[in-house]
């Protein structure tokens, strides 16, 4: 993790990145862990994450770059009763990459995470295990100048090793989340959305254009002469 962080900092100091962004996200999550006897433990709850993102390349309609995020999720087992309940927490960091095309983006993150389960009530127990897994994201971004509103779906899947749990088999785990996120991009070099590009072009066109530009070429000389004469008369 330290290696990834230092790599990120070195790339930043070497001006590898075009833009920097900071994002906060909050959403709902569901997880399922399969027991060795093929029954499922189903959990639901909330998830949050903060992300630092940068771009290697930027264009009018796309950008591509790395990111680093911290994520946290807290869930309850759907089988909880008044006398026994099970709470699940997952948290960790995930370096990743993201590609945006127009208003849509896809991403991959390599999660280094800890999963902790606590049973309370008639029977108390705690287990905690650390493992790595990949996550995929897909979503849509709606920009407002330096700000952007993002809505995305995230999924990860792996098996919790039985060596960590003592169970007779690995425990397949699936996680699905949806997030609503707000992103702020620092500096003026944020890649522009297609309609921002069109708007800037229109402004540029308005500033640079003169009446002469719209005249046929043979008339431009006489126009410039008469314009100059009138200006001189007024100055006199």
């Amino acid at each position: 993790m330290i290696f990834i962080l230092s790599l990120f900092i070195q790339m930043a100091s070497a001006d590898w990145f075009n833009t920097w962004s900071l994002e906060g996200a909050f959403g709902a999550t569901q997880q399922t862990i399969e027991n060795p006897n093929s029954t499922d433990a189903n959990y639901s709850g909330y998830a949050g994450q903060v992300m630092v993102a940068a771009t290697f390349f930027k264009g009018e309609n796309f950008n591509f770059g790395p990111n680093l995020k911290y994520f946290y999720a807290e869930l309850d087992n759907k089988a909880n009763t008044a006398t026994m309940s099970e709470a699940l927490r997952t948290y960790g960091v995930a370096p990743g990459l993201e590609l945006r095309v127009s208003n849509f983006f896809v991403g991959y993150g390599y999660r280094i995470q800890r999963l902790a389960v606590e049973l309370s009530g008639n029977f108390q127990n705690k287990i905690s295990t650390r493992f790595e897994t990949g996550e995929f994201n897909i979503g849509i971004e709606i920009p407002f100048d330096a700000w952007a509103l993002r809505f995305y779906y995230s999924q990860s899947q792996e098996s919790i090793p039985h060596a960590d749990t003592g169970l007779s088999a690995d425990s397949p785990r699936r996680e699905q989340s949806v997030f609503l996120a707000i992103r702020y991009t620092f500096g003026a070099s944020r890649p522009l959305s297609p309609w921002e590009v069109q708007r800037e072009q229109r402004v540029k066109d308005d500033i640079s254009s003169t009446p002469e530009d719209s005249m046929p070429r043979p008339y431009r000389r006489s126009f410039r002469q008469s314009y100059s004469d009138r200006t001189n008369i007024m100055n006199d």
Binding site: N37, N77, K78, M84, N125
Partner: protein, 300 residues
Amino acid sequence: MSLFLFGCGSDTGEFYHASLGLGTPKIIVASNVVGQYGLAMYDINGNFIRSLADYTPANTAPRGLEVLNEFEFLVAYDGANIDGIHRFDIFSGETNFVVDTNLSGNIFQVRRHEDHGVFVIESNTIESFDDLGARINAPRIATTIGACVLSTPRAMAFTSAGYLAVVGIGNDDLLIYDVTDPANTACVSANGTLAGAVDPVAILAHSDGYLYVATQGDDRIYRFSGDGLGAATVVFNNPAFVLNPTALTEMPDGTLLIASDGTNSLVNITTAGMLVGSNYLVSDSFTNSISDLIILQEAD
């Protein structure tokens, strides 16, 4: 919000087995101390986890335990007014498995075989039930069948060949029964080589193929061949640790766990007769007078 995003899933599912602690084996003991009848649970290192049940208010003594799965077991109990068998879940407690007016004698150990049913010692007979608790035969094993005579039987075990091995403190015999046919139990052998007031009270069919027998008369652990024939060899003989043994089971690592009433403890030894560790595994109020003990663990 979750319902909106993921749909109205109605599958509540179960608890995660790892968080239930099912990934680590548990020792369950039945305490037979008058006024302190109950069940207690320990981890495999002998650390007390919790008391599972108090049988004192009902004035019933839990006498036999048998594993069903990683969190359920059977409890055969002998009461002042009623006897029976409970199905016990370590998370939710007991439910009735057998309530039969014919089960009214002195109840001791209970054993289950996947094909042959549930067997329970009742005085000088052995009763049996199917997995729904319905009685099979009356009784399944009578006091005398051929050369096999049940005389104050105390413990049973199914051998690797599927025969039922029984020991009792009346004639000290090791009896081997073929219980394949519910209507016609056969005596395979009656081994009287332990005769001499050694009082065998516990028997274990070990995964190594041998039968291990604990005797109260001489405070020893004996080893018989897997078919129960021939003379036994002494595996352990140290009354400082095993004095008046009452129950015997196999630990996950293949060592033996012995309930020793004389030292109020659980003692862990190897099958070669060496003490594991330097002292008792457990010695507390629940190990004072253990009638039976089992290990709950996930099946491989």
